[in-house]
């Protein structure tokens, strides 16, 4: 292994008084005063959030406005801190989506328990729960921090969906020969 010998000259007389070093230090700090400020002034200016950021988990709808969650409760099962609680419910017969069978009647995520691990997003077969770019969840009471279904859909909004899995399923079942 090559050894690099560092040149350690003995300090000169001037250097032993520390004064030249102090002066050069002062020059550096003085120059810094005229550099542009690097601070982001937070509430007005927001940082750019990368796409794969794990913020607050939210529920999303597909482009047709259909709620994607089918109440399979996988996320509730996988959630390490047990922050998710789902009350399953049925889908209205007249809505045109009755073949999906289930939707959550209520969907609660306790944001005080949530650890933003993203396992719910990973496990969701419907891509219905997504950790998006919201990072400052806050409230005055504990109850306020338990986000219900309405709030979760408000935060989630609509994400582009390329699959339309249930539409394809419906079409396939209609075209398939009856037994």
């Amino acid at each position: 292994m090559a050894t690099k010998v560092v040149d350690r000259r003995p300090l000169s007389w001037a250097e032993k008084t520390y004064i030249p070093q102090i002066l050069s230090g002062l020059r550096i700090t003085f120059r810094k005063m005229f550099n542009p400020v690097v601070t982001l002034e937070y509430p007005e200016q927001r940082p750019t959030i990368p796409d794969n950021y794990r913020g607050v988990p939210t529920l999303v709808k597909d482009p047709h406005g259909r709620e994607k969650c089918v109440s399979c409760q996988l996320c509730e099962f996988v959630c390490p801190p047990k922050a998710i609680r789902i009350t399953p419910g049925s889908i209205d017969e007249a809505s045109g989506n009755e073949h999906i069978e289930k939707a959550p009647k209520d969907f609660e995520i306790n944001m005080l328990r949530c650890i933003y691990c993203g396992l719910c997003q990973e496990v969701c077969p419907e891509e219905a729960i997504v950790l998006q770019d919201i990072f400052s969840a806050n409230g005055y009471t504990r109850q306020e921090m338990v986000y219900n279904k309405k709030k979760l859909y408000e935060l989630g909004g609509t994400l582009p969906d390329k699959h339309f899995k249930w539409d394809k399923k419906k079409k396939a079942s209609e075209q398939a020969p009856s037994h």
Binding site: I22, L26, T29, F30, V37, T39
Partner: protein, 372 residues
């Protein structure tokens, strides 16, 4: 002694204290701003009142500069809960911050900050023109450490206690070097200890361009005095009494609310006082360099000259306060043993050598060239 004399003396004292305290207070804000600029941050820039924001352009500038921060901080200190740790002697515990602040305000009485010419006689703008002004300042400013030691002792806690011990050791070590470094200055000025006479001795020009400031005649003294001043005012890199990094907050760990505020203002009052003192001793007080090269030799008579000289003096003091803040954010702090080493093994021998060399040089000069 008639009553108008007393009235005007008290009035002058009140005005002086008000100005001095607000400068000390705004030094705190300046510290935070300078720190932020050096660290490429905006610093305190939000505190404001709706009335001030309503002023078109100035309101916003004032807010961004953090000038409203001082009343906000003061108000916060006033209204916060005032905690007492258990088993403290309340008398000493309350006395400590008062003792820490009073010396800074007392030394200010003998500090000349300008001159006024009336009927051809120039007198200093000063509360008490003592002939032993410098001795008075040295004597009283060293009393400030009693506040810190008392705080450390009265707090009934180990970190303040260590801070108090360090403060006493540090101040005693550096006071020697400080006093020694000042001896040649006053010898050079003709043996006076009066600060006004010292400033008068520094007016005028050397070779027609350089000012006759002490810093040019006594550079070693100036450097030693400045270093000792940093140690005396407990500023970084000599912040042993506080040592945030190893003693939590040193002597004021147990202090909160307004008592902490008093310590804080006391520290910055010491910085302001130290800067003003350095200006008087080494930077020619209110002498008007470089304007006096172009023939502007003296201040006009009357109030105008008094105000101008005081303004020049304040400007120089502000520059030195800035230097104090600037050094703080440049140099890393010393270890305790390094401070003791520097004080006893470096500064004190250099100060004594400096004194002896100047004494011999001056004696030779007077003896062989017969000029005093």
């Amino acid at each position: 002694m008639d009553w108008t004399y007393i009235f005007f003396t008290v009035l002058k004292a009140v005005i002086m204290v008000t100005i001095f305290m607000s400068i000390a207070g705004y030094t705190v804000v300046a510290e935070r701003k300078v720190a932020s600029w050096i660290q490429e941050r905006p610093g305190p820039n939000r505190t404001t009142l709706p009335i001030i924001l309503a002023i078109p352009v100035i309101g916003r500038i004032v807010t961004r500069l953090g000038l409203i921060q001082l009343p906000a901080d003061g108000g916060k200190f006033l209204f916060k809960e005032d905690p007492f740790p258990g088993h403290v002697n309340k008398v000493y515990f309350i006395l400590a911050p008062i003792v820490a602040l009073i010396p800074a305000l007392t030394t200010m009485t003998v500090l000349p900050f300008g001159e006024i010419t009336r009927d051809g006689v120039t007198v200093p703008l000063v509360l008490a023109n003592l002939d032993v002004g410098m001795l008075f300042i040295l004597a009283f400013s060293s009393l400030g450490v009693y506040g810190i030691i008392l705080a450390g002792w009265a707090s009934n806690s180990k970190y303040p206690f260590l801070g108090g011990i360090r403060a006493s050791a540090q101040v005693i070590s550096y006071e020697l070097a400080m006093g020694m470094s000042l001896l040649p200055v006053f010898m050079w000025a003709g043996g006076t200890l009066n600060l006004f006479d010292l400033v008068e001795a520094q007016s005028g020009l050397l070779f027609g361009c350089l000012p006759k400031w002490m810093i040019f005649f006594q550079p070693v003294s100036a450097l030693l005095f400045l270093t000792a001043l940093f140690a005396e005012t407990n500023r970084l890199p000599f912040d042993m009494p506080e040592s945030e990094t190893d003693l939590v907050a040193g002597f004021n760990t147990e202090y909160g609310a307004f008592k902490f505020g008093l310590f804080f203002v006391g520290e910055y009052a010491h910085v302001t006082m130290g800067s003003a003192l350095f200006v008087v001793l080494f930077l020619g007080g209110w002498s008007l360099w470089p304007l006096n090269i172009f023939g502007l030799v003296d201040y006009p008579a009357g109030i105008l000259g008094a105000v101008l000289s005081a303004l020049v003096f304040m400007l120089k003091t502000f520059c030195l306060i800035f230097f104090f803040l600037w050094i703080r954010w440049t140099l890393p702090r010393f270890r305790y043993d390094q401070i003791m080493n520097l004080g006893w093994k470096r500064l004190l021998p250099i100060a004594i050598a400096n004194f002896v060399v100047y004494a011999i040089a001056m004696a030779v000069y007077i003896r062989f060239f017969n000029q005093a």
